[in-house]
């Protein structure tokens, strides 16, 4: 108990210094957590992907489509348990600032392949029945205050014109990382509307952006991918099939340099505060040489001095770490709001919390290492002289 009291009192001996160090730690730990959350948000699509889903797209590029008639041939491939398709719509809701993902999908097969989009039976049926209907994720509906039955007008960019959808359902994500910020509508409505428009480009009629392939056994993903791609080799539209995870990763890899930079910055912040904290502990130790020498005179061993310094350092680091962790939540909320629908998921993960706590621990230990080692080896007689 006396040792604990000594630790606490020592930590609060220079209140201003301790408070400034704590502020630094809080800023560093919360910034570290925030940057980690940002990186996690980037990878949210990857994390949410299922191992039993493959994505087949045009081998040239995502901007090129695939014919609808590939559907039956893919469905016939051995190992394929389900098939659906989707097109990126790229519409604008009022202004460009209101960005969110919109997909024209084949509703029944798509929802069957994505059980994580949880819709009530009534809403599901209403969506399936209404060709002009749409469903949106809960976060998106909350953001714009949409209710079932509302009309949602979108200005098409890839598909010009004003497209108005009737909101038939609002889905909830089954997991924390399920994307609740997208709008799904009928692919048939899209393709038929395009067909009916005068001067419509033939490439946009019955054209599919991606096929989503359901497989029964994730272990056969590579084999089935190969089978599908072999099927369309030397055709006008060759395919590239990959796991949903790999497909999502290909988007992330486009901005990999930014992610690496963010991760580097998050680590640099930790290293900087480590140096600041080490400086604080070194100053602290230097001021107390005579006290440590006195303790040694009284019979306390070098290990006791190490415990005192390391304990004080850990106490400050953990206090700063815990406050930083707690502050990460409101900060992530603010950043999540500010980035709007840019990230489907923006929430602090358990792993980030663990890493923040670990970072605080490492800062505490490393900052105390040098001064503790020095003080444990200090010559008692010269240490005692410092008091004068």
């Amino acid at each position: 108990m006396l040792l604990l009291r000594l630790l606490l009192k020592n930590a609060l001996r220079h209140k201003l210094r301790t408070v400034l160090t704590l502020i630094g730690l809080v800023v560093a730990i919360s910034a570290f957590g925030l940057l980690r959350t940002l990186v996690d948000a980037w990878y949210a699509g990857v994390e949410a992907s299922a191992s039993t889903r493959l994505v087949t797209r045009n081998a040239i590029s995502l901007t090129f489509t695939l014919p609808l008639n590939y559907a039956e041939r893919i469905r016939a491939v051995e190992g394929v348990s389900g098939l659906s398709w989707a097109n990126w719509f790229g519409g604008v809701y009022i202004t460009e600032r209101n960005f969110f993902a919109q997909f024209a999908v084949d509703p029944s097969t798509y929802l069957a392949l994505y059980p994580e989009y949880v819709l009530s039976d009534a809403e599901r049926q209403a969506f399936l029945r209404d060709r002009q209907g749409a469903v949106v994720g809960r976060k998106l509906a909350d953001k714009f205050g949409w209710r079932v039955g509302d009309q949602i007008p979108l200005r098409g960019t890839i598909y010009p014109g004003i497209w108005t959808f009737t909101l038939r359902g609002i889905y909830d994500g089954a997991g924390a990382n399920t994307d609740e910020q997208q709008l799904l509508f009928h692919w048939k409505y899209l393709t038929e509307s395009v067909r009916q428009r005068p001067g419509a480009a033939s490439s946009k009629v019955d054209a599919v952006g991606i096929y989503v392939v359901g497989i029964a056994d994730a272990n056969n993903a590579a084999l089935i991918s190969q089978r599908i791609d072999t099927l369309f080799r030397n055709s006008l539209a060759e395919t590239l099939t990959e796991t949903e995870k790999a497909f999502q990763l290909s988007f992330v890899s486009m901005s990999e340099a930014i992610l690496v930079a963010i991760q580097a910055v998050s680590l640099i912040i930790v290293v900087i505060i480590m140096a600041v904290m080490a400086n604080t502990m070194t100053m602290t130790a230097r001021e107390r040489v005579a006290e440590y020498a006195t303790l040694r005179v009284l019979g306390f061993g070098p290990a006791f001095v190490v415990r005192l310094l390391a304990g004080e350092s850990l106490l400050i680091a953990l206090a700063g770490g815990v406050i930083g962790i707690v502050l990460t939540f409101p900060l992530a909320g603010v950043v999540g709001q500010a980035t709007g629908t840019l990230f489907p998921v923006f929430q602090v993960s358990d792993l980030t919390l663990v890493l923040q706590l670990l970072a605080a621990l490492v800062i505490g230990v490393v900052a105390a290492a040098w001064p503790a080692w020095r003080m444990s080896r200090v010559d008692i007689v010269s240490g005692l002289r410092q008091v004068a």
């Binding site: 108990m1 006396l2 040792l3 000594l6 001996r13 306390f300 061993g301 007689v381 008091v387």
Partner: protein
């Protein structure tokens, strides 16, 4: 504890051919040379000498906080020059009480907590430790100041807390390095009177470094050092 007559008892401290030198670059600076000294249990010895004479070094060596360059220091039958760092720390905790010129109290601990510190190294329970601390505080007449921090105490009171801390483990030897050096004459006199009481009532062996003849007069034996050599060993005024 009954001290007995020094002349009749075997010496508590037996020092033979003690030498100490410090290395300054390539130069070896001798501080103590061929010191022989015996101190019996219950003696109050004052070590005197001019600055740089080696009296504090001798005290540090006897107290086991410094290592000699040569010779032997036998205290209570133990040659402390042969002890390792850990053994020496344990030996100090069990056998020596320290009083410093500048008190060396931990400023963040109260008087009672400062006195309790050495007891943390014993197997005493918290309650037993508290009892010992109260007894030590009563002995130095500071029971009413147990919860005061060092900066709330006068110099003389701080030194009395330091004396209580030195006593609380009931060591056989108390070493005091200029215990009145930072105090005014009256307060210094009080502290010396307290040390004298401890010597007489508890029979503690006290080794005190001082350059103040009036402080030395409280001791029953004076040892003079000059340039690292023991010059004279005589009887003090108090005896």
């Amino acid at each position: 504890m009954n001290p007995g007559t020094p002349a009749e008892s075997s010496p508590l401290i037996r020092i033979r051919a003690l030498s100490k030198a410090y290395q300054r670059g390539a130069q070896l600076i001798p501080v103590l040379q061929g010191v022989d000294l015996e101190v019996h249990a219950g003696e109050f010895v004052a070590l005197m000498g001019p600055s740089g004479s080696g009296k504090s070094t001798l005290l540090n060596l006897i107290a086991g906080i410094d290592k000699p360059s040569g010779g032997c220091i036998e205290i209570g039958g133990v040659d402390i020059a042969d002890l390792g760092e850990g053994e020496l720390a344990d030996w100090r905790a069990a056998n020596v009480g320290f009083i410093f010129q500048f008190y060396n109290l931990l400023p963040v601990l109260t008087a009672a907590e400062n006195i309790e510190l050495p007891l943390l190294l014993t197997g005493l329970t918290r309650r037993e430790r508290r009892e010992h601390v109260h007894a030590a505080l009563a002995m130095v007449r500071l029971s009413d100041r147990s919860d005061h921090y060092p900066n709330e105490l006068s110099g003389g009171q701080q030194q009395r807390v330091a004396i209580a801390r030195a006593l609380v483990t009931d060591p056989q030897l108390i070493v005091a390095d200029e215990p009145t050096g930072d105090l005014d004459r009256v307060t210094g006199g009080d502290v010396l009177a307290l040390l004298g009481d401890l010597h007489r009532q508890l029979g503690k062996t006290i080794l005190m470094v001082t350059h103040d003849p009036k402080a030395a007069a409280c001791a029953e034996r004076l040892v003079h050092l000059e340039k690292g050599v023991l010059l004279s060993d005589g009887v003090g005024l108090s005896s």
